[in-house]
Amino acid sequence: MIVAGYNILRFIFLVLLQVLVLNGIGLGGYINPYVYVLIILALPVETPKWATLLIGFATGLCIDLFTRTMGMHITASIFLAYIRIVVLQFMAPREGYEVGSSPSIRDMSLAWFMTYAGILIIMHHLFLFFVEAFTVDQFWYTLSKALLSSVITFILVILFQFLGSQPKRSIN
């Protein structure tokens, strides 16, 4: 229950942060970090697959409604939710995930989380920027834009991991 409430709060906070603050920054008119990916990254490991996908849809929809880019973030977030399922399977510890753990630096390790977040953020950003461009005409331009934005998002996500106080995992 506490975990669910915490995830809902994070959802609201990150959506607002994204649309009210980060979308307004637009570093150099070139880089736009999309920290809202953390909503999906930080979902508990046991979240059912279908629920992850639906949360991805809802997250994208919220961002799209605010930025008037209907569809771009929806498709990108669903994609992110799906590859999260795949990546979690591949990166599972030998003895499986602990009950009640979430993909975070606390519950896993710094190296594990950096790999996990790095892969997902880059995949999400590539998908998003190429859907925005909807063409491969300016391939290198779009690619560099996506990669640079990924780096900034990645740094911010790691930062949030250290800043955000998460509820102590209950021992059971």
Partner: protein, 277 residues
């Protein structure tokens, strides 16, 4: 049957993913003009090549029919030719003086949201259909041309600025009236591209570019920008000119929406022109 159900349960995530992505892309294509057009052009290409292939067959079958049609059309055209030698009896009639009739009305508006770093940027202004704003009205700032209204709700309107990949604005060089089409390549929000100016025209850095006023959306001579640099395209014989835009889209706050009172008249003429054989 049992196996089939098991199969679906086992891979439910993949099926749900594909299903949701379909919805997502449907929303994307339905709501974004740019994506819609790219999508349509793809499908048009695919269906086009298909129709092309089938056409090659059916053409032969219908050749005789086509010949008859062409012959009939030729006959009709010849008749028109003869009749066109009739004397023209129309003459000028005195009409009310419209030399100084008001043509453009301006409505001030404030920009409440805008983007510059997207490929398809937009501007939202705080005036809508209740203030008389309609689709396809021009928007200018004190510095120069801003864009064209694409949507108007009751209190707000969306503007497609010059820095939008679909923006096409007829522009001319102020000093010698040669005109071309101005578009934007999606890279730098301070630079737009002017094409269709033939290479024999002498241009120089700093030459002023203004609107041509051809479609009646903007008054003729609305400032747009100055020539920054150019390259000659030897294959087409036209320049590709980089224009430094007068208007700074990062700091556009107050704009004016232009209503052309005579727009319906221009539109009717254009429609009639298109209907000519």
């Amino acid at each position: 049957m049992r196996n089939l159900i098991n199969f679906f349960i086992r891979y439910h995530a993949a099926f749900l993913f594909v299903f949701l992505e379909c919805i997502g892309f449907a929303i994307l294509v339905a709501n974004n003009n740019y994506h819609n057009i790219r999508f349509l052009s793809w499908t048009a290409e695919i269906s086009g090549s298909f129709y092309d292939a089938t056409n090659n067959f059916t053409e032969y079958i219908h050749l005789k029919e086509a010949n008859d049609q062409l012959a009939a059309e030729n006959a009709a055209l010849k008749e028109q030719l003869r009749s066109s030698y009739n004397s023209n009896k129309s003459h000028f009639l005195p009409v009310a003086d419209t030399n100084l009739a008001l043509q453009f009305e301006y409505t001030p508006a404030k920009v409440i949201q805008s983007t510059v770093n997207k490929r398809n940027n937009y501007i939202i202004i705080d005036k809508g259909s209740e203030n008389g704003i309609e689709k396809e009205m021009g928007v200018v700032s004190t510095l120069g041309l801003v864009g064209i209204v694409t949507e108007a709700s009751s209190h707000y309107a969306t503007v497609m600025p010059v820095i939008h990949s679909k923006s096409r604005i007829s522009a001319r060089l102020k000093k010698n009236n040669f005109f071309g089409i101005m578009s934007w390549n999606g890279l730098d929000p301070t630079i737009a591209q002017l094409s269709d100016i033939p290479t024999h025209v002498k241009i120089a850095e700093g030459d002023t570019v203004v609107s041509r006023g051809s479609s009646g959306i903007f008054p003729e001579g609305t400032p747009i920008g100055i020539i920054d640099s150019w390259i000659e395209d030897p294959s087409t014989g036209f320049y590709v000119i980089q224009i430094k835009l007068n208007n700074n889209f990062r700091s556009t706050f107050y704009v004016q929406v232009i209503k052309n009172i005579q727009q319906p008249e221009i539109d009717t003429l254009e429609v009639e022109q298109e209907e000519l054989p």
